[in-house]
Symmetry: C2
Subunit: 337 residues, 2 copies
């Protein structure tokens, strides 16, 4: 409870500003994580933040070293029935097919156009990269940003019918805000495409473009009509996954995080790297346990496969977030509705 | 002229804070760039900052888009008699030679040990990369940071006798502070080694590790005694120079800067990329014209070669900083002395 009065008096050549602040001596603390159920997970997070921000604590960490890294797919937003970027690719193939009549008889494009998921799956990683390159390269970086924004503004999730940007986790939005309010600098460290994420991470997560790390393709500097552009090339530059996540963290951030959150074994090394540093650290794993409100999957899933993380969370002191019991709300629209 | 009084009254369960601020209506502005001579360059910089930060101006830029990028060698610190990182390499070869008896008879190492600059120069870029790999790889990222810090703490510049960290430009330190005071986010975008710069950019320039972009080698995630480390590999990952500077800016920052500063043709594309964007932009080139207080060089120099930048600055509306006449002080120690 806080009240402010400001009175401005203007006299000859002088501004006088009077500001009076009155606070109750022990104001009731507002819950920084209202969508999190009271329990060991929420307590563990709050205790961690309290101890690294308490100047009197042996665990105190200076604000400049309060780096937190979050995976995206399955950690900040959903990843079922498959990665949203793959759904974007499939939508793009269908739109671009108008200018590519040869795709009607060329795999793996034909499979996409015919919704033939068996053939698409059989095309494997190689087929996926071919689709990604065809849909993600050839345009300038600025043209690609427009394409992503257009898709996000219109596309709907196949089972919930909600825009993809609405399928982010309310409890994680609260956690991001809570960390920032405690002077953490928060980064995304995702296997998703760098330039697929950046157009919307600021408005949805409050994370600016330079705090987003992802997989990337090559770009080339060119002059078009005397103006410089960056043209996206059909060539992978970096895959940000498992052992390369710490590599990218070091390259982009240059400091070891003190908090990392993920949901799959692709995040295992990021969590290991983060929590092996000196001093107090926190590792978090979102465990998808909620078939009713979201999805339930772990060891057998092709998205967000979680085996090592489940088996070794305890040994490493990482907190497993049980989505079904730890989260009272999943999506922001469940509060708005 | 500003005066503050604060009175704290403590009563039963209530804190009342009274704060009174009285300002003269038109307080005399303090000079944000005291080491810069009054003139067209200083005026150009201040006018630019005034216009992009003035909410009433058509040129206003929101704080989140106030990105500024600075080259390092020759822009923020000196680069003569040669790049300081090359001097670091030569020092490292001499120290490491104790464990490499074969270097006494192996070029280009032999040339370094014998101070045979003619042979070293003849070894060219290939020789340089060999020396760089031998001295910059094989250790963990944390071990390398210790090596860089030790060198900076002890090594002295061959002609001035000052520590390298003291050979930064006082006027540019003021410019960095001035931009940050106006809510700019300032990045280094240098051809220098990423992990050669990061250990000291925060303390010297106030630029945190995640706002430093440079050339880099590969690193590999490994477990040593069960603990993860990143081991520096003898393999180039990225050379950050000329056409790749906009590529790196896009990859690391994800936004086009509105201000860029460099000193050589290696910065040409960064300036072009920056100032080709919509709205008001500023390009700055440090022109080394001061043989008495620093060095004088441009078109013929092997470090900081400046030809295109000189010829096209005017056409592009970039400000050439004439070191001899625009800077009243070069190094911070000249003020401290």
């Amino acid at each position: 409870m806080k009240q402010n009065w400001a009175i401005t008096l203007k006299s000859t050549g002088l501004f006088i500003v009077l500001s009076i602040t009155a606070c109750a001596a022990n104001p009731p603390a507002t819950d920084p994580l209202p969508s999190w159920a009271d329990g060991a997970t929420k307590r563990g997070i709050i205790n961690f933040v309290d101890s690294v921000t308490d100047g009197e604590s042996a665990d105190f960490v200076a604000p400049k070293q309060r780096i937190a890294t979050f995976d995206n797919d399955g950690t900040l937003w959903s990843e079922k029935p498959t990665y949203f970027q793959l759904l974007f690719i499939l939508d793009r193939v269908k739109i671009m097919a108008a200018n590519h009549p040869e795709w009607k008889t060329t795999q793996p494009f034909q499979a996409v156009l015919e919704n033939d998921m068996a053939t698409l799956k059989a095309a494997g990683k190689h087929g996926l990269i071919e689709l990604a390159m065809a849909t993600h390269s050839g345009m300038t970086t600025e043209e690609f940003e427009v394409i992503v924004n257009d898709w996000l503004a219109t596309a709907k999730h196949p089972t919930t019918g909600h825009p993809y940007k609405d399928m982010v986790y309310q409890p994680m939005l609260e956690l991001l805000d809570y960390l920032r309010a405690n002077d953490f600098k928060v980064f995304i460290v995702s296997g998703g495409g760098l330039e697929f994420m950046r157009p919307w991470t600021e408005s949805v997560y409050g994370i600016p473009p330079d705090q987003v790390i992802g997989s990337s393709i090559e770009t080339r500097y060119e002059l078009r009509d005397g103006k410089p552009v960056l043209v996206r090339q059909p060539k992978l530059h970096f895959i940000n996954d498992n052992v390369t996540k710490p590599v990218a963290i070091n390259r982009f951030i240059g400091q070891r995080p003190i908090l990392a959150a993920g949901n799959s074994d692709g995040d295992f090394e990021m969590l290991k790297w983060t929590t092996s540093g000196k001093g107090k650290r926190l590792g978090l794993i979102v465990h998808h346990t909620d078939a009713d409100r979201e999805w339930a999957y772990d060891r057998e899933s092709s998205e967000g496969r979680l085996v090592k993380g489940l088996d070794q969370a305890d040994k490493n002191g990482w907190l497993l977030i049980d989505m079904a019991s730890d989260w009272q709300v999943i999506y922001p629209y469940q509060i708005r509705e």
